[in-house]
Symmetry: C3
Subunit: 157 residues, 3 copies
């Protein structure tokens, strides 16, 4: 534990009871990251979202979600390297009938995220300046991946 | 970043303001995975859930949650191996008064999930075909673990 | 899969349609963990929260969130060691213009959590006895970090 200071803005409250859902389908180009930030923002605009939160849920066990730096593409390259080091191929896995990249893909999915929740304030996701939302494909070959998008909150009248 | 294509279904909206909570208690058999998918589905049926999301939250720091392949049990065996490699016992940890498996259990919990959120569409969790919800016990001996289940959304009249 | 038994409490339901948001700013002291549990509890009291869930979202890609043991500070020390081993400095990363600690910080963020959701029951977070909520600073030097707090649920009249 380190010395620290805290500050917090006054809470703001709205009344809200709308849930809007949509299914996003992403064709990945094989192992690597696909930025879906704009598509989620577009979904929120279409839903008329004002205040609330958007949930992302990926319906797979060999691809996952992560929020990461969107400025320098070499960050994504290094993240791929890091995952390959943490979950290498041909490392004595028992489950190997679906190819050498399959069990590492499950491990990488476990170490990252299957669901994300992002607050929506005044119609915009409360992302930081450098945050992008990515689908991480962990299989070597291209796949079609499904992500459920769901907004809970208030909508424009 | 790779080439990719995107498609998305039209958003569907419901009005919803119900929150239903329940506490699930799971007796684990020591290190390994326990499938709780059916129990969560049963909770949603009892709650009369229609559209919304179910949150799972585990109240522990040496057991965690993950969504993983439910078809081949050897995947779960390999996930255990992978976690043991990422967080080995007797690796010079300072915190060792509760047994050699305790600090690795905390690390494994940090690398996986304490909370999950799964969209519920038309009364069913939007899980992919091969996705099961698991409690991951990271201590060597059996433990009783508590998971809060909470549905937010619309219910059948 | 191990033998196990399950039990579950009867679902309890409330009607709720309030969303309350606030921005928490935390000055970290450099690499390490800052406990924000009390500050989140204070936010919930100010919001008059009764039943629902609180979402935490950190607006950064080199700091993250985790729920961990709050009893023995040596656990946090070992978690730092574990993250340093999983994402070492000077390990051949391509992205190195922002300092040797920068790319490891992105990897540590990917392996932990950017968003957390904690159920709120009867006005209190449903945390386990030993669970504390932490901001994990992954950069060597102190930083100011922003966390969005958002409660969805019912409030006291």
């Amino acid at each position: 534990m380190r010395p620290h200071s805290l500050s917090r803005s006054a809470p703001s409250t709205v009344h809200a009871n709308t849930i809007t859902s949509s299914l996003l389908s992403v064709a990945t180009g094989g192992a690597g990251f696909t930025d879906i930030t704009r598509e989620v923002a577009k979904f929120l605009r279409e839903a008329g979202a004002r205040e609330g939160a958007v949930t992302l849920f990926i319906r797979h066990t060999s691809a996952s979600l992560t929020i990461q730096e969107n400025a320098d593409p070499s960050v994504l390259q290094d993240l791929t390297t890091a995952l390959n080091r943490l979950a290498p191929e041909n490392a004595g896995w028992v489950h190997d009938t679906e190819g050498a990249d399959d069990m590492p893909a499950h491990i990488k999915t476990m170490l990252t995220s299957v669901s994300l929740q992002i607050p929506v304030l005044n119609g915009e996701m409360a992302l930081g300046t450098w945050q992008g939302i990515y689908v991480a494909e962990h299989r070597a070959r291209p796949h079609r991946r499904e992500i459920v998008l769901q907004f809970i909150g208030s909508v424009a009248p």
